[in-house]
């Protein structure tokens, strides 16, 4: 539902059905709602069969990359020679994204159930749920739910532990997350080896996002065909997706719609449109790491993996950031660059230097000391930051810069030419 607002008739409420319903948080309440039935069933199934069902459903990872979940699970060794692990990515730190928080706050058992099913499918005996350090409230509810469900012995031989992060966006990157669990600095690892071969503690590991795993019990219950049938546009994007909408809309919140839903309708109908007297200027459809769309692109965009790519951006994590005509795009792009500069783990030169210089040049422009050549310099820097580093944080910094200069060049030029007053001090 459009939490914290009432559900909208055009939502397809699956994962968010119990958002706002405190009884669903308790073990008893969850069982009353049919919870843990699918886990009991899954534990009696052949792992390969479970993987087939998830493959058939078309479920793709909701953490950002959209990798097919069943396929990812199938990369784990079939014949188990070493311990297997499941890591759950609850680090949710991508600006614009706040859906996993709601899943953990309202339906912690949905995540626990989905995680245990996934663990069985990949033959893992241990699950680590990595929750960002700032998520004190989700932690409390997850901790309580885990204690209750463990006492009821629903997980069979599977052990689930919560692991608290300590403030580092980069720990959402899968191999950085594994290093962080191991008690190390959260530096991403060079791949290969991929986690299915050597993940956490050097053992075969699968890592999935919270929303991905929360969908799994529903797929088992209602069938792969049901899930696959939920698709309004591209058949490669199936099921429902939670979109976190924030910024300049009347009703910010989490909205659950079927894949392929028009972005325009999400913004103007479900979210109540712009503030009075304001018009849409730009939108980042998939969390801050994806390119910015202009108004026309936004209003003609269909929300699925393929639809957003067609408009020049990516679905990412489903964090929709809305900017109206009052927005200073140059300033906001600088804020995003500053975010990446702050969060770079500093292993790769292109990223460490590139994010810092990008921020510096943008600040210089905002201080009224930019030169026209700075725009080419920024594009040049961005090119050197794309596709050349250990992880894609570097590319993520370049995305808003390149797309921003392409679509809102006049705003940069206004600062440089002195048509706009500087907004920061040199």
């Amino acid at each position: 539902m459009g939490f914290p607002h009432k559900p909208h008739a055009r939502e397809t409420v699956v994962l968010s059905k119990y958002f706002g319903d405190a009884d669903a948080r308790t073990y008893k309440g969850w069982v009353k709602r049919g919870g843990y039935e699918m886990l009991a069933q899954a534990l009696t199934m052949e792992p390969a069969k479970l993987i087939d069902v998830v493959k058939e459903s078309g479920l793709r990872g909701r953490g950002g990359a959209g990798f097919p979940t069943g396929l990812k699970w199938s990369f784990m060794p079939k014949e188990k020679k070493k311990p297997h692990y499941l890591c759950v990515n609850a680090d949710e730190s991508e600006p614009g994204t706040f859906k996993d928080r709601e899943i953990m706050r309202w339906t912690p058992h949905a995540l626990l159930e989905g995680s245990a099913i996934a663990a069985h499918a990949i033959q893992a005996e241990v699950v680590y749920i990595y929750i960002r350090g700032e998520f004190t409230e989700p932690w409390t509810f997850m901790d309580r739910a885990l204690a209750e469900a463990s006492a009821a012995k629903v997980f069979g031989p599977i052990k689930i532990y919560l692991h608290r992060g300590a403030g580092a966006y980069i720990c959402g990157e899968e191999t950085a997350l594994m290093n962080s669990i191991e008690g190390k600095r959260g530096n991403p690892r060079i791949k290969p080896p991929f986690p299915a071969a050597a993940g956490v503690f050097g053992m075969p590991t699968t890592i999935n996002n919270v929303e991905t795993l929360a969908a799994v019990p529903h797929i088992l219950k209602q069938g792969a065909a049901w899930y696959k049938g939920m698709s309004l546009s591209s058949p490669k994007s199936t099921g429902t997706k939670l979109f976190s909408v924030c910024g300049h809309v009347q009703k910010a919140g989490n909205y659950e719609v079927t894949m392929g839903f028009p972005l325009k309708d999400l913004l103007y109908e479900l979210c109540g449109g712009m503030r009075p007297g304001r018009t849409l200027k730009a939108c980042i459809p998939g969390g801050s790491s994806v390119p910015i769309l202009n108004r026309e692109e936004t209003e003609s965009c269909l929300l699925d993996y393929e639809g957003v790519v067609e408009k020049g951006s990516m679905l990412g994590s489903g964090g929709v950031i809305v900017f109206d005509d009052s927005t200073d795009m140059v300033y906001q792009i600088m804020r995003l660059a500053r975010f990446y500069a702050h969060e770079s783990c500093a292993q790769c030169t292109q990223c460490r230097e590139g994010t810092a210089w990008t921020t510096k040049i943008l600040e210089r422009i905002l201080a009224g000391q930019g030169k026209m050549a700075d725009l080419d310099l920024l594009l040049d820097l961005s090119e050197n930051m794309t596709g050349k580093t250990i992880c894609v944080l570097s590319d993520s910094c370049a995305a808003p810069v390149v797309s921003g200069i392409k679509r809102f060049k006049n705003e940069f030029e206004d600062y440089i030419a002195g048509r706009r007053r500087p907004v920061i001090m040199a």
């Binding site: 614009g96 706040f98 608290r164 403030g167 008690g183 600095r185």
Partner: protein, 172 residues
């Protein structure tokens, strides 16, 4: 990594260890969750911070000793993560999100209100009465509830400048 740390580096005062009695037991339970002792490092650092408010060099040496690591290694990890305090902070620690989505909804005015109301001179500084430290942080993962503020372990949604004085009074 089985180098024994010197238990009491710099400083001559007696050091009161964090990990004794029930705390040590609790750490033992946490260690048992992982195949390596090292993996209990982040949880151990959280335990220190909860007990002492921040993590000193001597605390790091103790953690190193307990987990069979070196103090330098522990420091390397502590400095990577922004939520571990390497210096004492005010009685209440206020973290305001100012990343772009919150920024366009007025987060900078919220930070300003916190600085003015608490009397903390600048970001990262503690108010003269030692009660409150105010910092800006990057996205808190609650962008639809702009502006979220984390005061100690309390996550507060939808803070606006007019609500700041009341909040400051609440955390005295």
């Amino acid at each position: 990594m089985s180098v024994t740390a010197h238990p009491t580096p710099a400083g001559t005062e007696a050091y009161e260890p964090v990990f004794t009695g029930p705390t040590l037991e609790q750490l033992g339970e946490i260690i048992a969750r992982y195949p390596t002792k090292q993996a209990a490092l982040l949880p151990a650092l959280w335990m220190v911070q909860r007990a002492r408010g921040w993590i000193s060099d001597r605390n790091m040496a103790e953690v190193a000793e307990v987990l069979g690591l070196t103090p330098a290694y522990v420091k390397g990890v502590v400095t990577f993560y922004t939520m571990y305090h390497q210096h004492p902070v005010g009685k209440h620690f206020v973290q305001v999100c100012t990343t772009s989505p919150c920024n366009i909804c007025g987060a900078e005015a919220v930070t300003k209100a916190f600085l003015e109301t608490t009397g903390a001179k600048e970001l990262g500084a503690t108010s003269p009465d030692g009660k409150r430290t105010v910092i800006e942080v990057e996205c808190l993962g609650a962008c639809g509830f702009a502006t979220p503020v984390l005061v100690d372990d309390d996550f507060i949604e939808s803070v606006t400048p007019d609500k700041v004085p009341e909040l400051v009074r609440k955390y005295k």
